[in-house]
């Protein structure tokens, strides 16, 4: 009799557990939207400079542009903040200085920004939320013996990277890295005057898009 009662009790408990599990499984359902894994969007800076006699590419020469913020925008309007590396949580307070006359700048090695990015089409590489680019007030040129200082004067209010041609749509795919090279046309951005350079605006165009 006691055994029967225990058996019955155990049966009730097991049934209850099965019932609870069944109810909880039945109440689960899939999200109504997809939640894919991120890709990586990396934007590198390349500098085009044809004035190689006056200001050649060299790690001894220096002209820094200062990037305080780089924000891309997806076609649905979502913003993506790109930082200096994948693990960074913010940029330096004074912004990141990038030497436009360095060999790294010539060889597309300067990282403008990188971030894990939700997959999608990024139609605007430099969004309105990006902070204007500033620069050092002078350029340093090394002639092998001494440095020459050349003033770089602002000819206009500092502006964001200004696209010279319409930016092609950039697709970020799940689990893949999209590498965009943004070329800064230094010849168009900085006009030589008799004794100084006039900085007009950071004129750029997308020169390559790779995905791997």
């Amino acid at each position: 009799m006691v055994r029967m009662r225990d058996f019955f009790t155990a049966f009730l408990v097991k049934s209850f557990v099965v019932l609870v599990l069944a109810i909880s499984f039945l109440s689960c359902s899939e999200y109504e939207y997809s939640s894919p894994l991120p890709g990586i969007l990396e934007v590198r800076l390349r500098v085009k400079n044809d004035r190689t006699t006056i200001i050649p590419f060299s790690d001894s020469n220096r002209f820094n542009i200062i990037v305080k913020d780089f924000v891309a925008q997806r076609d649905d309007g979502a913003f993506l903040v790109l930082l200096s590396d994948l693990n960074a949580i913010r940029r330096k307070r004074d912004g990141d200085s990038l030497n436009c006359l360095s060999l790294a700048a010539r060889d597309s090695q300067l990282v403008l920004g990188v971030a894990y990015a939700p997959p999608g089409m990024y139609t605007t590489l430099v969004s309105e939320r990006s902070t204007p680019i500033t620069h050092d007030p002078f350029l340093l040129r090394f002639d092998g013996l001494s440095y020459q200082v050349i003033d770089v004067r602002d000819n206009a209010i500092p502006s964001r990277f200004t696209m010279m041609t319409k930016s092609p749509p950039i697709e970020v795919k799940e689990g893949k890295t999209t590498l965009v090279v943004l070329t800064l046309d230094l010849d168009a951005s900085m006009i030589r005057q008799s004794e100084w350079f006039d900085w007009v605006a950071p004129m750029v165009y997308v020169s390559s898009i790779q995905q791997f």
Partner: protein, 607 residues
Amino acid sequence: MTHRYELRHSMKLVTFFSPLFALALAVWSCEYPQSPPKKNTLPDTRLANIPVNDTIAQYINLGVRPEVQLYWLGDDPDGYVIAYRYRWTDVYRGQRVVQRYSTILNIVSIGTSNLPRVMMVKGTPRSLPEMYRFFSTLTNQDQTLIQAIIDSLVTKRPFAVPYKSGIVAGDSVMGADSVVHRSPTTGQFIFDSPADSNMHIFEVSSIDNDGGIDPTPAVVNFWTLKSPAPIVRVSPPIVNTDISRGLSDTDQVAIRHRTTRFQGIRIDFSAIDQSTDERVFQWAVDDTLNPASWSDWSESTTAFVTASSFKPIRSGWHRFYVRAKNRWGVLSNIATYTHSSGQGSFKATVPDIDDPDFVGPRVLIINDIPNLPGTVGNPDSNQIKAFYREVMDSCGLTGKFDIRSNGVQWLDQSASVITLGKYSSVIFLAERKLPVIGAAIYQLNAGRQGNLKRYLQAGGNLIFVGPIDSTVFSGIPFWMWARDVFHTANYRRNNELDCVGMTGINGYPDIRIDSTKVPADSLYAVRFVMVNQPLGFAEPIGRFISRTDDPDFNGQTVSVRFLAPDPIPPARREYSIVNFGIPLYFCEKSSVIAAMRKALRDIHEIQ
């Protein structure tokens, strides 16, 4: 009983006739749909702030200022006012000048956006009600369209009304002058008062929502006296250039188009106006009769005069004229500045090289070596001339260069800029310095430096040959010339017989001292060669070769070039400089020819 019967009968009658009566009343109150519409009642217009017309008091009180602010208002008994139109009629010297109607839409905002300017319509089109209806029925949902309208008004560009049925030719609005109209019902008017007494008639009519125009416009007329003119004063010209700072107003150089080196001859002026603080200026040089000689009206009180304003474009004295116009459009006297010599406002030299028809290259070699019998290491004028003739011929400039060998005293005169200005490049030789420093016979004193600077300012080029030191330059410290013209600094002189040549860089060849041109006791080296440090855009082209491997000098910069940027037409190219810090006469001729060819190519004299 009878009474009850009558009451019942009356009730029956009421019951029977009431519907008939109601029906008759309804029919009577209805209009026939095909009956003609009620005639539109035209609007009425009133002026708000005008005193009694044409009184002596008004003549005296208002007449001095040909400017008035008027307010008006319109009413429409059977609708509303959608626009106003007005016009001025001026009567003076027996003439009656009737101006065109101006029409203003009575709209101050679209949606929740206030309009930055009042909307003007060209003429008085019949479609005015449709235009009004279009703008007044836009809502915040049409934000893109509203922004486009606002942009057009701000920039005073016509905005074609985009009806649903499409654009209709002529149906467009434009922003009004914000000084004149701050709202559709007010105007700040300035009008022509050229005669001793002038009458002005203002008429304004309102337009209602049916397009009906008030047939009896509100009218006011009043008189004005002749408007007082501003009085203009001109200050002496100022030289406003970087390298000819401090030059007097009788020794200026002028070229046709501005460069960063030549901003123009600066002349300041001012005006006193009895009535208003708003004035604009217009200036001319030499000719005031030709309207094309006058500049555009500008608020600037400074003129930067280039040679293209000269009538004719030539060297010599020129006269500067300026006049002002006040807010009422009244012109001032034509003022001028006269130099104490009485010959004009300023004297300027326009170099031949600035003439678009100038045919180059033309090179002037300034050689100040006296024509005494020369020795080895101490050449005479003929030896120098023969050497450089051969060099220039080898560079392909046969017949395109002159050598001036009779002292540099001629450089003292301001007219020397005219002489220099006939040449696109100057080669200045300072060769006879070896092996010892002699008398400062080819000193560039302050005056000669100034004239050379003027030539450079105008776009001439300079090739400097030979060691430079304080015996070559006097009056103004050499470091100033070096900094401003050569773009070099930190000079150090090697006093020993140590320099045996230079190692060429940036496309220049190596140059070695020619042992046949220096005495044996010189150890085949030259002394007093200076090393330096380039500044700004200056670039090294040669490094010192030390006979003794002196670490303080060996490999240091001795020769420098400073090349001008490419010009932006129509401006001409600014000056370029090549400074060979060593005396080329004492060097091997083949390498000197190669170096000179490269220098002439750098300064765009040869291809």
